[in-house]
Amino acid sequence: MSPEPETAREELPPFAYEVLLCSDFEGVLEASGTTASREAVVQAALERGRVLLQARGGAGKSTTLKRIAEAARSEGVRVVELWAVEWAKHAAQPPGEPSSADLLNAMAHASSPPTAMSELADGQPSLLLVDGLNELQTSHAHAILAAANTLATRYPQLGIMIADRLARRSIDEISWQLATLTPVPLWQVRDVLGASYREETETLFSNPYFLERARRDPMSAATHRSFFSAQLKIADHQLAKLARAVNLAYRERGNRLVNLNWLGEQVGSSIVDRLMEAGVLEMVEEPDARFVHHLISDFLAALDIADDPSRWNRAEFDVLTFKASSFDALPMVLDEVLNDNADLFARRLYDWNFYAAAYVIAEDEERSHRITTELKTAVLAMLAERRFDQLQATARQVSDALRLQKSAIAKALLTASDLETIIDIVEGLDISEPWFRQWRQLFGIRSGRDARADEVSLIRDADSVLGWTAANVLKRLTLDSDVVASLATLLEDVSPTIRWRAAHVLGAARTASAAEALDHCARGDEDLWVRYGAIRSLIEMAAGCGPEMRAQIFERLGQIAHEINETSQLTNEVARALTVTAPPANWSEDAGLLLECLWADAGSIEMQDRWRDVSARLRLSEPVGA
């Protein structure tokens, strides 16, 4: 289990944040639910079988699990603890990902005390606590959730509680109890900070991780850099080496573990010894170690790219976030960049993953307010437009991202009834920044006319915000054959970002030539995210075209079923994208042409189940005969 810094000084009073039991994920995002004592949480875990505790990095998840473990033991409940990373590592079957069955078999090797699955069958009330799901890539996290579900189903005397990041998971909300953590109450924040208290940093310090840092050393509380320099006496050049090494470890291992021998070679054994002695680095299993809190290691990995804008690209962001599985490192990059570059960093993020940009904007609102209001507004407005996306998963995800924001504009955009209202909100803002006015003019184009060639050329703009806005706006307009041909040409562009934007727009076309261009791209583009965008656009096109073309699209997608099944990002997106708002007649039947191929190609019963599940979901969304 990953100890929170606050546990290091037992004499200090614990922070008074609490567990909230929530009825749905919206409740988790909005911290709206019923406060529960530790004993009540234990009871909820035993009654429901599954509790998913989701909160921001540093919010106190690990400490909460420890407190709940104590409460359970005092009530005679057996407690078994697992660290998700260790569990996945023991279960992994390279080169594939661990299946639910692999995880169940590996339990005895990763749990503390070592406990085999079969030992849970003795009828004794037991609590299984799994920490660090947020440290795993999405596919591994899904496998752990599936394994936990199997355990809870098999052993009714077992309760499972899993600590996770703040992200919507594909789980059955009837079976799972969702929970989150309240912030540290304001009185305690004021009490700890004393004279250092500032209203503008109140939200930051209501996070237990940062408040504990302030309690230890008020002078170095706000930045991780000062923690290393002031407390650990690591010089800047040594810190840079350490950051480089941690970033390299992220790149090569795909997790937050670091080989101590290798680290010694990179930064010198004296630094490693200092980190170990200070308790910042701890051994997991010889020779692998980890930083005591994942935010510390995320800071180091982030620091390595912070002063080099040329590295703010998709490849580096994939490394830093384990392919968009954990965004905690991104605000730490922002902490370290020069003020003038804060917007540039957010724009680069937007080009890679707009949810990541939204996450960093939300964090910036609570930390340093370094991203300009203009950029925040543009990004949030673009997210808000996608609330009306026909693909339901996208609409839900952007709503989640907007719910994370605390600003008034975000709330207005979240409740706007349609795109016209969103445009009206943006046009009503009193902002005179030249680039924003240019962007607003583009964003304000209303639907109902033909797209123009000059608007198509805008998707090549180097500015991600303008480029993606142009792509989104083009989707509102009528795309004639010349425009489709221009977009198809852009699918051959050298820049994968431009190809992705073009693929995004073509999803709104309804012509055979557009389908053919996207199909070609989905099969052969060298860039994963371009293929991802093309497949997604083909599904969007299928939802809007006639039955004959729809059948052709699904049949052709069926021909690349193996590639879709082999790549988790594509698998996840197809499973999500097929659920559309207002599907055409016989949608499930037509989508079945693709689903049959995916099912037939599936290499495991779990994967077959996944496609059966998607198929059932599509059928259930259609009216049933009398």
Partner: protein
């Protein structure tokens, strides 16, 4: 016998549509709800853990995946000895030529089909000349239960009232029959005799008597629940026929099947078929609960239960 998260029920009945749950609850006098769970029982739920003779629940929605989830949840909550999936289904009618006349044979609306084997017919690997089935592990309906109870209910011993007594006037002009045989589980309503996929599975499973949308899901849940030697759940599938599903035949030209869509027939017969399923389940439950389960060191046992 292990206890589930909510307690223990000896028999758990799972239904799907509104008419089915209403009919089964009425037949079993299951008027008491356990908390706010949507699970009903004929006796007030008391004690900790709660111990009940029978509970009635309804699937979250139609088709095999929701049925699997609902059955899994029911087992986790109650660890029943026996699960009964009860409801309506399409009865397969197969054509036979007699004296230049075409006769459609098979279970009629209102009849009961008790499954002795479940075929899952959805998703095949479609190749140019054939469709190959893919498989996953399931528990077939428990043959000892089928043998011990379905036959006796089909043909009651001397002095025992027939199971359908009290069902009221028979719309078919005769008492309903009980058939024991194979069931095909699919993911959509079998409504069009000229639909290629439907023709394929009706030809392939040429002995099947009925088509439903949930039995494979429940069968899968039973299989998954078999995690240790202390728990041996058994199950049955009881289907009352609400409409005909016409098997393909060379005796009939395309477009000349008795009904090209069975939705009207299904709507008409559901009102009779659902209570028929409820009544059959009541008699089944009476038989299952007529004897106490003996106590053992690891199990407090369970009393016999009868409806008065």
């Amino acid at each position: 016998m292990p206890t589930g998260r909510r307690g223990h029920a000896r028999v758990a009945v799972l239904t799907v549509i509104e008419e089915e749950v209403d009919a089964v609850r009425t037949a079993l006098n299951a008027d008491h709800e356990v908390g706010n769970t949507g699970v009903f029982t004929p006796v007030p739920p008391q004690g900790n853990p709660v111990r009940l003779p029978v509970v009635v629940a309804r699937c979250a929605s139609r088709s095999n995946i929701p049925a699997q989830s609902s059955a899994t949840r029911l087992i986790e909550q109650w660890q029943p000895e026996v699960v009964i999936l009860a409801g309506v289904a399409g009865g397969i009618a197969r054509a036979r030529s007699t004296n230049d006349e075409i006769v459609w044979e098979g279970p009629e609306p209102g009849d009961i089909v008790v499954a002795e084997y479940v075929h899952y017919a959805e998703f095949t690997k479609n190749e140019p000349l054939e469709a190959r089935l893919r498989y996953f592990p399931i528990d077939q309906p428990t043959s000892t239960l089928v043998q011990a109870h379905a036959d006796s209910l089909r043909s009651p011993p001397h002095g025992v009232d027939p199971w359908h007594q009290g069902l009221g006037p028979y719309p078919a002009g005769r008492p309903p029959n009980v058939h024991i045989g194979e069931i095909i589980a699919v993911e959509g309503i079998a409504g069009d005799p000229e639909y290629t996929h439907q023709k394929r599975y009706l030809e392939r499973f040429d002995h099947a008597l009925a088509v439903d949308m949930e039995s494979a899901g429940v069968a899968r849940a039973l299989h998954e629940a078999r995690a240790d030697i202390h728990y041996n759940p058994r199950w049955m599938c009881v289907r009352a026929i609400s409409d005909h599903v016409y098997a393909p035949t060379t005796l009939v030209e395309e477009g000349a099947y008795p009904a090209l869509s069975n939705s009207e027939e299904r709507r008409r017969w559901k009102a009779y078929a659902a209570p028929a399923a409820g009544q059959f389940v009541r008699r089944l439950a009476e038989r299952l609960l007529s004897e106490a389960r003996e106590a053992s060191p690891g199990d407090p046992g369970a009393e016999a239960y009868g409806w008065t």
